[in-house]
Amino acid sequence: MSARAHPVGEVVLSVENVSLSFGGVKALQGITFDVREHEVRAIIGPNGAGKSSMLNVINGVYHPQQGTIKLRGREFHDMNSHEAAKMGIARTFQNIALFKGMSVLDNIMTGRNLKMRCNFLQQALWIGPARREEMAHRRAVEEVIDFMEIQHIRKTPVGKLAYGLQKRVELARALAAEPTLLLLDEPMAGMNLEEKQDMCRFVLDVNDHFGTTIVLIEHDMGVVMDISDRVVVLDYGKKIGDGTPDQIRTNQAVIDAYLGVAH
């Protein structure tokens, strides 16, 4: 890979000994890994390995029974979603979680809600600061729309869009928050080759342009090995591998988990 605009730096997020269970189901067992600034970190593993649970723990949707999460020097036993968003974490979901009744523009505008300062009375009057604020954020959102190349659909209700475009809008909504850490839960699931290539380009561009640190879950091994700096492998809630794509490719435990072992 050629020289990067934002070289990989210090550890920004570290997950330490995190365990999460739902009743008797142990979704995560003592998971430890870290994410460095500006890197693309992939989490892979067979179905039900606990990948999505891991993301949900990082941004406070699930609360682990054990372990700590360190984000930029601050230590959390469990995150809450609001706090996570304030600390610059944004994410997309495995099953698209857009606001179906709203236009693309409004969906992306919601991504900037934490940056808006006016209270509801000022907004109701729509004069002075509220209006200026709305216009300023519209400008910022238009930049995201340009970046994601979705200008032509900005006024369309998202419910009417094709699947691939919805995925793109969801990424745009996350980007509108100007996150420092972006969690992507299977951004390429269910896409055809061309859409996947587009999405890969967007993910790499985000990393390159804004220096956003990216944690991504993906099933397409080609994509994972191609775009990520380091990969962590989960299986049945346990970590079975961690390293660069080349190390993972030759890791016997990973190969066994994916291909099965002869008994």
């Binding site: 941004n59 857009l98 009744g101 505008m109 729509w126 509220a130 238009e142 928050a177």
Partner: protein, 358 residues
């Protein structure tokens, strides 16, 4: 043919985000406002002004209030009549006990009281959704009516629980004729509708819709669930409260607690379902539909019996009216489940393309 936006270019975000971005719409709304503010009070007779247009506007405001909560924020509520009752009786009390306050501040304070009650009864929404929440808001309906009947202070110890709205005097000018009451109602409703529209196209409105459409995603983006839901209850109840105050002061005059039964809650709920949930316009269309249709049917049957020269028994007519009223509601809901406002929107989209199919 005449409804085109060709040649109307937007060169700023402000222009693009106007309430009526198309020039023809702006002309239309100006004409409509002229008609309702000038022509109707000049030409309308006393019956139409005081018995039809004024309550229509008040219902539209209540429907708007419920629409903010149910249509935009997705929280189902059957407490509308209770919030209106709080508004009506508290406005009476403010006028009675603090007469120096004036009419409009009393209405606003009454709305704020309704908002406070709304927030309290909105608390269950933090845990429950949908039909279960609707049942929880039923508690509000029963509690408020019970409180009004039991707590003598609210009705100023009137034996029957009936209160008589005070005369409305604003800045020394009495609002006592049907036309003036109509104009006062219209002004308040227009202003509040504009504020609601502004709010719904701002961050608050987007947060409401986000909570309605996908609450987990809304939370992950940083929208505070409790704050947003309770704010929706507060704003919605404020609107219902002001509507209730006007229901007492501009329309009924004398008010008994039984004016605010569950029937009224359902009536307002039907208005937003038929008019269109999640639409300011829908609240007005729904209120107009539910208020005007029975009158229209009544006039129509009168005309038919006159034309045929036969006397149709009154009981038959009133039953027929109910049947047709119900059938029309079902018909419109089948044609467009998203309400008449959506139908209007589709018509406008078609009109922009007409006479071409695409």
């Amino acid at each position: 043919m005449f409804y085109r936006e060709a040649g109307q270019f937007k060169s700023s975000y402000a222009e693009d985000q106007q309430i009526f971005p198309i020039r023809q719409d702006r002309i239309g709304i100006t004409a409509l406002l002229l008609v309702v503010f000038v022509a109707v009070p000049l030409l309308g007779d006393q019956y139409w002004l005081s018995a039809i247009f004024t309550p229509l506007l008040i219902f539209a405001l209540a429907a708007l209030g419920l629409n903010i909560l149910t249509g935009y924020a997705g929280q189902l509520s059957l407490g509308t009549a209770a919030f209106m009752a709080v508004g009506a009786f508290m406005a009476y009390n403010f006028m009675l006990r603090l007469p120096w306050l004036g009419v409009i501040p009393s209405f606003i304070l009454a709305g704020l009281c309704a908002a406070a009650v709304g927030v309290v009864f909105g608390l269950p929404s933090l845990r429950i959704k949908g039909f279960y929440l609707a049942v929880a808001t039923l508690a509000c309906q029963f509690f408020v009516l019970w409180a009004i009947q039991r707590w003598g202070w609210i009705t100023n110890y009137s034996a029957s629980g009936v209160i008589t709205a005070q005369k409305m005097v604003i800045l020394g000018f009495p609002f006592d004729t049907p036309a003036l009451k109509y104009l006062l109602t219209l002004s308040i409703v227009t202003l509040l509708a504009l504020l609601a529209k502004n709010l719904m196209r701002s961050e608050t409105g987007r947060a409401f819709m986000a909570v309605r459409d996908m609450d987990v995603a809304a939370e992950v983006i940083g929208i505070r669930m409790m704050h947003t839901k309770l704010l929706a209850f507060a704003i919605s109840s404020f609107y219902c409260g002001v509507a209730g105050a006007m229901y007492a002061f501009c329309y009924l005059g004398t008010v008994e607690p039984e004016a605010f039964t569950l029937d009224l809650s359902f009536r307002v709920l039907f208005m937003i379902i038929i008019g269109g949930t999640g639409s300011i316009l829908g609240s007005f269309i729904g209120a107009a539909f539910i208020t005007l249709l029975p009158i229209f049917l009544n006039v129509m049957f009168g005309g038919i019996s006159h034309l045929l020269g036969v006397e149709i028994p009154h009981a038959v007519i009133s039953n027929l009216e109910l049947i047709i009223f119900g059938a029309l509601i079902i018909f419109f809901l089948i044609v467009e489940p998203h309400g008449l406002a959506r139908l209007w929107q589709i018509a406008k989209e078609k009109l922009r393309l007409w006479p071409f199919p695409h």
